[in-house]
Structure formats: structure tokens, C-alpha cells
């Protein structure tokens, strides 16, 4: 086995925590799962915690005051504490559970449309996003600006796959109300300079919304540790990419901002008093959590983040870097293969999109799949970034804390095989 500095020392033990990794695929092949940027696999402890909750503590929360209700409420609110600790959030009340990252981003865009006063987005206002965003951080802002008459603008990309900040002064102006961008690109792997952009946006009084869907799984985050000028106002991530279940996402927001925004969805839990003639609303976080929340999902997410905390986000980050570096070396041996995005693996996240000359990404992914190697092919919900590089789609490998160098070897070998299968080169 290859020895790489930075690799998780107990990698084989970590892998044992993930039951799916023992699965074999068609033809008895072992699973080589390199699609973690799409969704991560789940450790046993997450599954067991959810099962225990469903089999022993299931009840609705907040509203039920019997023993099961108290247990379920405690477990749910403990999960909020865990998320707050994971993000280093200044206050637990600033943590709002949503169904995924997409809903969290839409929540912000929607409430800005209906906000009153300062925060309201309307004609003449500018919202700034970037060309490397996931569709979930583009479409909500398109809908918002189309519906309110505001203008959507965006940072372009350099040929290297970095944000092109050269025209930042034209984009971030007194008219700019919102600046939103991804911390780590799910396609290019790029890690963006959060502090720098946030500081600039704050100078003009714009709100900063950070999509941490790819950052939360692999980078240590400490909101309270950031200087206030550099700290985003709102930040989202999604449970299923941080070894948690589907059906749960997180919106963190600065208290004053959340308090100033109107409600998003109306219904049970988010109210103070309901009269037919009109209602008043609960304080944060409940104001933004209408209806029965994703209870067992929050409990599962709590277990997931606790698990990541035990392994250590610093170590996971180092592991991802080691694997990414190793993959870069391997990919360089495949003729006709071009990596999209930054060339230096040390400044990237753990997702690598590439093209293989003469073979369409679907066909690459298909041949890889038959060899047990699971990657993603397509535009990875980042069509504009693909368009920017003049490609319609790409193949993406993405690693995580359970990825081994041997799995990268299997990928590289399968890529060589793909070339020979399609008789290219």
C-alpha cells in the first residue's frame, strides 16, 4: 500500500465504519466509490442512531409533552447544538434546519423578496453570484431578480478556474445588496477566498451568502473565530454530503439578519399566535421551521457531525489533500486527459473534473462503472462553469475520508482501460 503523508492514519478502521464499502457490485467487483461530492456514504453510527430514535424515541417535537415527546425534542435540539458547534456558530438559535442546501438558499432569496425596509430587494438592486456556482446557487437568485426587477450579475472565471476578481469594483457597488458564492466549487474544486470577498461586500453593506455545501464536508469551519468583517452573514450546507442522511440541510445566519427577514414557509411551529385575521411569528430559529421538522434526519445529522468531529476536520482536510495530490499524479499518466480547474492540488477541494479526449464523459463513466468505479459524468449541476470552459460535460471523481490510494489506482487503471476500449490514441 502506498504511504502518503496526510493520509488518515487509521484509514482501514474508518472504512470499517461504512457498511456500504463492503458491498460488492455486479460481477462480484468491489465498490470503488468516487462520487462523494455528489453524496457521501454513511457510517454505521449514523444509521444506528437513526434506528434507535425511530425504534425507541419517536414522537413529534416541541408540541408533545409526554416522555417520548420530551426525548424526541431533546434529541432534536441537541442536534442543533451539535451543528452550532460544528460551524462554530456564535449562537445555537442561528442554526435553522431546512431540507437541503437548496432550500436554505431559496429561503434566503425568497424572504429577501418579501422583506420590508432596507433588506428588501427591488428594482435597481444588484445581486452578485459567480459563474462557478451549483445550479442551486444560481436559479434561486435568477427567480428572485426576475420577480423583483433587480439585476443579477456574476463573477467570471479565470482560465485557471479561479474566480476572476479583476472587476470586483464594478460588481460590488453601492447598488449591490447580496453577494453569494460557493466556498468550494463542486466542479472545479476551487477554494474561494471567503474572507476577502466578504470584506469587500461588507464595505458596501451587502449581505454575504456562502454556499458551504462542499466546504462543510472537508474544511474546518469556525464562524465565531472569523473577524466580523470577514464573516459571511448567511451560510448553508447539506446533510447528505457530511455523512448524514438526506432530507436535512442547514442555514446558519447572523441573528440580526434572520430576525429582520420575514417568514418563509407558514404553518405549525413557526407561529406565536394564530388568529384567522392574522398571525404573529415565533423567534428564530423556529420562525423558519414550519411544520414537523426533519426530526430523525436532524438526529442523524447530529451523529454524523459528531463522527466527523471525532475523526477531526483537520485530519479529514489533510486526507483529502493527500488523495487529491495522489490522484493528480495518476491522472497525469493518462494520455489525452485534461483536468479542469486549478492545477495545484494543494489549493483545491476533493473533486476533480476532467475530460478524456475522444470519449464522451458518459461513456467514460459507463466503462468505469463496469469496473466498479463510481464517478459522476455530466455537468454536475454546474452548466455555466462547463460552458465557460467550452465543454458540455465532464467526468468527475470525488474522494472523502474513506478513500484510499488503492481506489485512485483502480480509477487510473480503469481510465487506461477506457481508452483502449474505445480505441483512442
Amino acid at each position: 500500500m502506498v504511504e502518503l503523508p496526510g493520509l488518515l492514519p487509521e484509514l482501514e478502521v474508518v472504512r470499517k465504519d461504512f457498511p456500504i464499502l463492503e458491498r460488492s457490485l455486479a460481477g462480484g467487483l468491489p465498490l470503488v466509490y468516487l462520487d462523494s461530492a455528489n453524496t457521501s456514504q454513511k457510517p454505521q453510527i449514523v444509521i444506528d442512531t437513526m434506528v434507535d430514535h425511530l425504534e425507541r424515541h419517536n414522537a413529534n417535537v416541541a408540541r408533545a409533552m409526554h416522555q417520548l415527546g420530551a426525548e424526541a425534542s431533546a434529541a432534536f435540539e441537541e442536534a442543533r447544538d451539535t451543528v452550532a458547534a460544528f460551524l462554530g456558530a456564535p449562537s445555537r438559535d442561528e442554526v435553522i434546519f431546512t431540507k437541503n442546501a437548496s432550500e436554505a438558499l431559496n429561503l434566503v432569496a425568497n424572504t429577501l423578496a418579501w422583506a420590508k425596509g432596507d433588506r428588501k430587494i427591488g428594482e435597481g438592486d444588484v445581486v452578485v453570484t459567480t459563474e462557478m456556482e451549483h445550479h442551486s446557487n444560481i436559479v434561486p437568485w435568477q427567480l428572485l431578480t426576475e420577480r423583483t426587477g433587480a439585476t443579477l450579475r456574476w463573477f467570471g472565471l479565470t482560465d485557471d478556474g479561479l474566480l476572476d476578481l479583476s472587476n470586483i469594483d464594478e460588481l460590488i457597488t453601492e447598488r449591490t445588496k447580496v453577494v453569494t458564492f460557493t466556498w468550494v466549487s463542486n466542479m472545479l474544486g476551487t477554494i474561494n477566498p471567503v474572507a476577502e470577498i466578504t470584506r469587500r461586500a461588507h464595505e458596501v453593506g451587502a449581505l454575504v451568502v456562502v454556499d458551504a455545501s462542499q466546504a462543510a464536508p472537508q474544511l474546518p469551519i469556525d464562524l465565531a473565530g472569523m473577524p466580523e468583517t470577514d464573516r459571511p452573514d448567511l451560510l448553508v450546507f447539506t446533510g447528505h454530503k457530511t455523512v448524514g442522511p438526506t432530507g436535512i440541510g442547514v442555514l446558519w445566519g447572523r441573528r440580526e439578519v434572520l430576525e429582520a427577514l420575514p417568514p418563509f414557509l407558514g404553518g405549525g411551529e413557526m407561529i406565536e399566535t394564530v388568529r384567522m385575521e392574522g398571525s404573529t411569528y415565533a423567534g428564530i430559529p423556529h420562525k423558519f421551521e414550519a411544520g414537523t421538522p426533519p426530526i430523525v434526519e436532524a438526529v442523524g445529522l447530529g451523529a454524523a457531525l459528531t463522527y466527523l468531529g471525532h475523526v477531526g476536520m483537520e485530519h479529514i482536510h489533510a486526507h483529502e489533500r493527500a488523495i487529491t495530490g495522489y490522484a493528480f499524479e495518476g491522472l497525469a499518466t493518462v494520455p489525452g486527459l485534461t483536468v479542469l480547474g486549478p492545477g495545484d492540488p494543494a489549493v483545491r477541494g476533493g473533486a476533480i473534473s476532467f475530460e478524456l479526449e475522444g470519449v464522451h464523459p458518459h461513456d467514460v463513466a459507463q466503462v468505469l462503472d463496469v469496473r466498479g468505479v463510481a464517478v459522476r459524468a455530466g455537468h454536475h449541476c454546474a452548466r455555466p462553469a462547463h460552458a465557460r470552459f467550452g465543454v458540455q460535460s465532464s467526468t468527475r471523481m470525488s474522494s472523502y475520508l474513506y478513500t484510499t490510494p488503492a481506489e485512485i489506482d483502480a480509477l487510473i487503471e480503469a481510465l487506461h482501460y477506457t481508452r483502449s476500449y474505445f480505441k483512442v490514441g
Binding site: 424515541h57 409533552m65 416522555q67 420530551a70 425534542s73 431533546a74 406565536e272 399566535t273
Partner: protein, 158 residues
């Protein structure tokens, strides 16, 4: 795992003092004069309290009156009654100290030993702390009082 109750705890929860205050609440009703009136709700169950605060005395730093109109369970009703009786006549600073003491007791999950010197009848609520779902009931009017007092002080300042 369960922090919840058994039969004995029920008697700890519904102490005689609590049931007495519930049946015969002290200082109930809304009275004049007052500087601030607030309306607080427990959204979970619908318990409500409308509460008025009147500060007076030297520099307006004495709790001259706490009057209220409250709808709710025995715990929330009794807590309101006990609170009004405890705080009326105290200085604002003393009242705030009592408030803190009561809050600590309620949030202690049953581990805090209450100080009868400070809390008087309020020590009867020690058992409530073991019932997480009921802590909010006991705190509803205390939170309302703090809110109303803060508003009154703000009013004085401006």
C-alpha cells in the same frame, strides 16, 4: 436516557404550594398605573399572559406593582402568582437577582438546590425542573416580567 418522571415526581411537581397558588392566585388582574404592558405566549401550548409593570420609588427603581391576566396550566398560573408576590416591593436590582436565581433553578434539570431565603414560595418549583416540557410553563410570566421591566427602564432612559 429519560429525564422523565415517575409517580413520586408528580407530587414533587404538583406541590401543595403550587396548587394553592393555582386555585387562589395573588395579585391577579390588570391594574393601573403601569409603564409597560407585554403579551407573551407559549406557542407550543397556547398559554398566554398579559403583564404590566409599574416601577416607582426613588429614581423609579422599585417594583411597585406587577399585574397580570394569565391563561394557562397550574404551573404557569402558580408561577405567575408566586412571582408577583415575590417581586412587588423589591428594588429592580433585587428583583432581577431573584429572576436569575429562579432561571438557574428551572434550567438546572433538577440538580440545583433552591435558596428559600431568596425564592420563598418559589422553591416549590424545584420539582418542575425535572420536567423539561414544563419548564417553559414556569418561565412564561418571568420572561414577560423581564421584558416589561426592560421596556420600562428603556422608557425612563429616553
Amino acid at each position: 436516557m429519560s429525564q422523565q418522571a415517575t409517580g413520586q415526581d408528580l407530587d414533587a411537581l404538583y406541590q401543595e404550594i403550587i396548587l394553592d397558588h393555582y386555585k387562589n392566585p395573588l395579585h391577579a388582574g390588570l391594574r393601573e398605573p403601569f409603564e409597560a404592558e407585554v403579551h407573551h405566549v407559549n406557542p407550543t401550548c397556547g398559554d398566554e399572559v398579559t403583564l404590566r409593570v409599574h416601577l416607582g420609588g426613588p429614581e423609579g427603581r422599585t417594583v411597585e406593582d406587577v399585574s397580570y391576566d394569565a391563561l394557562g396550566c397550574s404551573i404557569s398560573q402558580a408561577s405567575t402568582s408566586v412571582m408577583a408576590d415575590l417581586l412587588i416591593g423589591k428594588t429592580v436590582d433585587d428583583a432581577l437577582a431573584i429572576h436569575t436565581e429562579f432561571l438557574t433553578l428551572m434550567q438546572g434539570k433538577g440538580t440545583v438546590v433552591p435558596d428559600e431565603e431568596v425564592l420563598e414560595d418559589g422553591i416549590a418549583f424545584a420539582g418542575v425542573a425535572k420536567f423539561p416540557a414544563r419548564v417553559k410553563c414556569a418561565l412564561l410570566s418571568w420572561m414577560a416580567w423581564k421584558d416589561a421591566t426592560a421596556r420600562t427602564l428603556e422608557g425612563q432612559a429616553s
